[in-house]
Subunit: 340 residues, 2 copies
């Protein structure tokens, strides 16, 4: 097969601060997915993007190319609207756990395709796997059924969704190119747009416990992602939330699940409760449901009911004891939590 572009030409163009064309971007992402552009070429390009940036059009094209590398899901045949949220992550951030059942309890379905830990922050799936029996992998059909019946699903993104992103994400992790805002924004948004959610709330963390250490870069990331959502016709809202200190009282997979259950039981640390309710309101409003108050659903136990149904639907036992985290594992996590 004859290739229409040459990888070295594309790398050189970005290296020399040129704007990449739609053709160049679609080719390089597609050719990387096909294995024609090698890892060492993509990492050189990623470093050039990190240091020289990409403009709004380039990021939009890059995101579209990542979406085009795989399948797209469609939730339009569900009986209720969908709303999803993405958090850029931070130490002790377990908000997704109480949030998804809370929003579902208010009549909006939540299709949470989550990820694993990146850097020193734990991933939502890693946390939920401390629930005995709980399984992170669902087929598209299982996911659809659970969304209709339970209203909330938290599971691993399938291999078919933005496969280019999956490979690029692993590459960035080992080549010092994670922190490029155009690549962070397109990675997050390509998966959320391909996932097919009807509305999206972005929780952009800022502070020493988050990836974005300062407000300026957090704001740039938020603005970039909202722009990408708009370009794709997706109602997108971003909140900048403080991550100067870890969220809640605990960091560590099982401990965070326990703390989340406390929130669903009407207790839990006030900062976690406040952020959960705030994000739930935004997710409901973005899906056109600003007539319900999630605080009620937390108080009267409806959110807890959805949580239990959600855990059970994925094979987990909501009543099982969570593994006791040893002192040693806990102090290791605490040490890892310190920004370096």
């Amino acid at each position: 097969m004859t290739e229409v572009f040459d990888a070295v030409d594309v790398i050189r163009a970005k290296r020399d601060r040129q704007s990449l064309s739609a053709g160049q971007i679609h080719w390089v992402v597609d050719a990387y997915t096909r294995g024609v552009v090698a890892d060492e070429q993509m990492s050189a390009l990623a470093m050039a993007i990190l240091l020289n940036g990409m403009d709004r059009d380039e990021i939009s094209r890059w995101t579209a190319a990542m979406i085009a590398s795989g399948e797209r899901m469609d939730f339009s045949r569900l009986s209720r609207p969908t709303s999803d949220k993405h958090s850029t992550g931070g130490v002790g951030d377990k908000i997704t756990l109480p949030l998804a059942p809370l929003v579902a309890a208010c009549g909006v379905a939540v299709p949470q395709l989550s990820g694993r830990g990146l850097g020193h922050t734990g991933g939502t799936l890693d946390k939920l796997e401390s629930v005995p029996g709980w399984c992170a992998s669902l087929s598209n059909e299982e996911m659809m059924r659970q969304l209709e019946e339970v209203g909330a699903v938290i599971c691993a993104a399938g291999d078919g969704l933005a496969p280019a992103d999956k490979r690029l994400y692993a590459l960035r992790d080992v080549t010092g190119t994670v922190e490029a805002i155009p690549l962070i924004a397109s990675s997050i948004m390509s998966k959320k747009i391909a996932e097919g959610t009807g509305a999206l709330v972005l929780d952009v963390k800022v502070g020493s416990g988050a990836f974005m250490k300062d407000t300026e870069s957090a704001r740039e990331l938020a603005r970039t992602m909202v722009g990408l959502g708009q370009d794709a016709g997706l109602t997108t809202v971003a909140l900048l939330t403080n991550m100067q200190t870890p969220l809640g009282l605990t960091a560590g997979n099982a401990l965070e699940v326990r703390e989340s259950v406390e929130v669903l039981a009407g207790g839990g640390p006030p900062d976690v409760v406040e952020l959960t309710v705030t994000l739930a309101r935004e997710m409901l409003a973005a899906a056109g449901r600003d007539d319900v108050d999630p605080a009620d659903a937390l108080r009267d136990g409806r959110a807890m009911d959805v949580w239990r149904a959600m855990i059970r639907a994925q094979g987990g036992d909501p009543d099982a004891d969570l593994p006791v985290t040893s002192r040693r594992a806990y102090s290791r996590l605490s040490a890892g939590a310190r920004p370096t």
Copy 2:
């Protein structure tokens, strides 16, 4: 084996414009040679070096690390002094061919370890291989004997010399990171210092037919390389020569050999003759022999005698017809020669 550094930390340091320590540089070059640092990590680092630069100390450490990755040769037991030259290359640059026998004819041995073509410029070895029977590979013992008996050798650098450079050079070629001055300078100088020549003349080409398009970057490259030579105790001289138009009348392997033989026969294009004699004077002077005039050796046929002995010593037939270059191959080379 426990590694003392982490590749991502080293990449991040350069990405964030920090100066790399001697420990970091020695580790990353050594670990790359051992395969512990992967190609995709080295290419990200190379791009960060290209865009953020390295200071004089870092380049000197990088060069020392490349030399330390392999063996060092020693010509001190030869009966005459040694002098070598390196040209940064340009279209139609065949100077090495008449120059090595010319300097040898004046009493200074020339150990020319040459390379293959890079980018759109042909390599000295590629050119000489158009001579029927001529072989580019010599063992260290064969090279030493030929230097003593003939006085000039042009051959391929063995695998033992700066192996880190060999791998890095191939990587840079496919990742758009060839043009980094710190990497060009350390690549050239690590091989010349490891080779063990007693003196070195650098012919830094500048102009549209060369890698360095402008005088400023050519001067920076020259200054960097002379500094590296001085740091290693090697008498090093650099000349900036114009490469705005191709050297001589021909470009193409066999055609360039023919033109070089014309120079050795006392004819040839005036620009090639002038540069050859100028570089020969510099190489002789750097080796302490400013009492001989290479123009005489060109006129009286001594240089041609050394050329014939040199070709014959490496299995070549100096009287054989050179292959006729087809019109098609020639026009492809011409097209490739245009700067883009």
